[in-house]
Symmetry: C2
Subunit: 342 residues, 2 copies
């Protein structure tokens, strides 16, 4: 149904090869024919079929991105900056979501493999390296983002999660918190890394984490706000009650604050709260939220550049790990104890 090179060639009495060459700006075409072809192309509004082209060249100029959830601003931002980085070099990004479900992720990856992408970027919901071993076996370049798999030697771009946990917790300590709880994340590398950072900060300052002070959601990165609220409920029931909470991410922190305020307590007066991610609406919240900026757009951009380097080098480059250093952002949810406690 759509126009093909054959149509144009027939109309003009030239060969398909000539048309093809014109379209790819080959040198060895006379100005006259070039113009004739180009004119006809415009008239018919012809666009070359990239699938057919890819079949013979072996390049699709398609890069896949798999993220758990596009509604999470973190992943939306990554998608945006990644897409922008790739577009500059003519690569197109196709986005799939795994809804934080390892099975669905596998399924989506399979679909993408069928499209013969040039590369794959994944924020994986899976803790099982088998999918990635498959990808590796297929010789498809890929980059893990946000979440790494310890067993696996891969390209990786992400935050320094231990630093996130450490920065956040030490900040709580510095504003005078004595009993610091952690609403932790899932059992993946960011969840574990941030927990470790939390523990390191406590250890450095000779504080201990009381029993029950680390609480973990059943669901993973979906309905974060709800789980933050629920887990905070449990923390409030403890004795002694925490006076500071580091939450795995901002949505959880928002949920936690909600619970605290509902219980008639104040933030940061009774309990200081800090999250991570520095979402774009953190400043506009009921209690503006202190957070750790993960420089999300840089994650996407660096992942893009790394992907491009894999795509452009003809040798199989060694795997690279790129860690983005996080930064503390202080807002009202932790602005207190400097005064009240010293």
């Amino acid at each position: 149904m759509p126009t093909t090179m054959k149509d144009i060639a027939r109309d003009l009495g030239v060969s398909v090869v000539t048309v093809s060459k014109v379209l790819r700006n080959h040198e060895d075409i006379s100005e006259a024919t070039r113009k004739r072809v180009l004119d006809r192309v415009k008239e018919l509004d012809y666009t070359p079929n990239l699938a057919a082209r890819g079949l013979v060249t072996g390049k699709t100029y398609l890069v896949g991105l798999v993220v758990p959830d596009l509604l999470h601003p973190f992943f939306a931002q990554v998608a945006k900056s990644l897409s922008r980085a790739l577009l500059k070099k003519g690569y197109c990004l196709t986005i799939s979501t795994s809804e934080e479900d390892a099975e669905l992720e596998k399924h989506e990856i399979n679909r993408l493999l069928g499209r013969r992408l040039d590369a794959l970027v994944i924020a994986s919901s899976s803790t099982n390296p088998s999918v990635f071993e498959r990808i590796q076996r297929q010789g498809l370049p890929f980059v893990l983002i946000d979440r790494s798999l310890p067993e696996l030697d891969t390209n990786y771009v992400g935050s320094d999660d231990e630093a996130i946990g450490f920065l956040a917790t030490e900040h709580l300590i510095e504003v005078g918190c004595k009993r610091i709880a952690h609403v932790r994340g899932p059992n993946n590398s960011p969840g574990v890394g941030r927990l470790k950072g939390y523990q390191n900060a406590l250890a450095k300052h000779k504080l201990k984490s009381l029993s029950g002070y680390v609480s973990m959601p059943r669901l993973v990165d979906v309905q974060s706000r709800e789980s933050g609220a629920d887990l905070m409920h449990q923390l409030l029931a403890l004795n002694p009650r925490p006076d500071g909470v580091f939450c795995y991410n901002d949505p959880m922190a928002i949920g936690a604050i909600h619970t605290i305020l509902d219980a008639g307590l104040t933030v940061p007066g009774d309990i200081a709260v800090i999250g991570s991610g520095n979402l774009h609406y953190d400043t506009e919240l009921r209690i503006p939220l202190s957070s750790i900026d993960q420089r999300t757009d840089m994650i996407g951009e660096r992942a893009g550049r790394l992907t491009l380097s894999l795509l452009e080098s003809k040798t199989h480059p060694r795997n690279r790990t790129i860690i983005i250093q996080p930064q503390l952002v202080v807002r009202a949810s932790t602005e207190r104890k400097q005064r009240s406690n010293r």
Copy 2:
């Protein structure tokens, strides 16, 4: 480099056709060969090349989505629900962003056309119908969402924007506002529709819009919060100052509230504010934001169903317009005048 049917056929001493048939569950294959093929497929972890298949079948099972900005929760939600709807029938969604730039949008659409999508869904940043006439000429089924083009007869799924403007404005009137301003949106169908709804509500209640009470951003749907803040600044300078503001969308409303509070005024005490979109974090804001729920996920889902119907019907069905009715959601940013003014 990757495995092909030829490899499998050679390994097994059967023909490529046989392999192809097994993979598509054809009946006329003996159980024995079927099993042999399937086993080898699994061993080699083979995935059929969809591009090659598409070349001969003419179906790519790819649907394109073009949105202005994935960071805007509205479009992220649409993408999510659309993707889910299409996935059920085996269609894959590929997402592009236009960054609210008509030129970039054209460019992205061209790329997508080159991929020979089965259908296209677009929230267009363009006011120029020519791109869509092109798509129509190519015979590619497409669905406009969120923004329609008045000159163009197309499939369309979106909100009832006049109803949005009317609901919001009438609500402000009902809580006692007398001088209602509108921070309006861009010159596209939602912007114009909501403005009209605002005017209709004023007219119905015999109120007039004072000079300067409708203010419009230079930028369109990017940095909405900033433009909301700026425009509110202008409104505050007016005499008399408005006591109610309907903002085109929630980010603008958030920016407007920011400005009002910074000026030492209160919301809703001095000025009541309402937006549209009912973003997922509206409840957690400094002043929880009254809004108009556009039932975003339904927009995505209905767009998905409409797209599927275009894809599955062999005749060229008539264009359909699906309008989703909005709903008022009242929160603190407009909860006042019932008491204070009566």
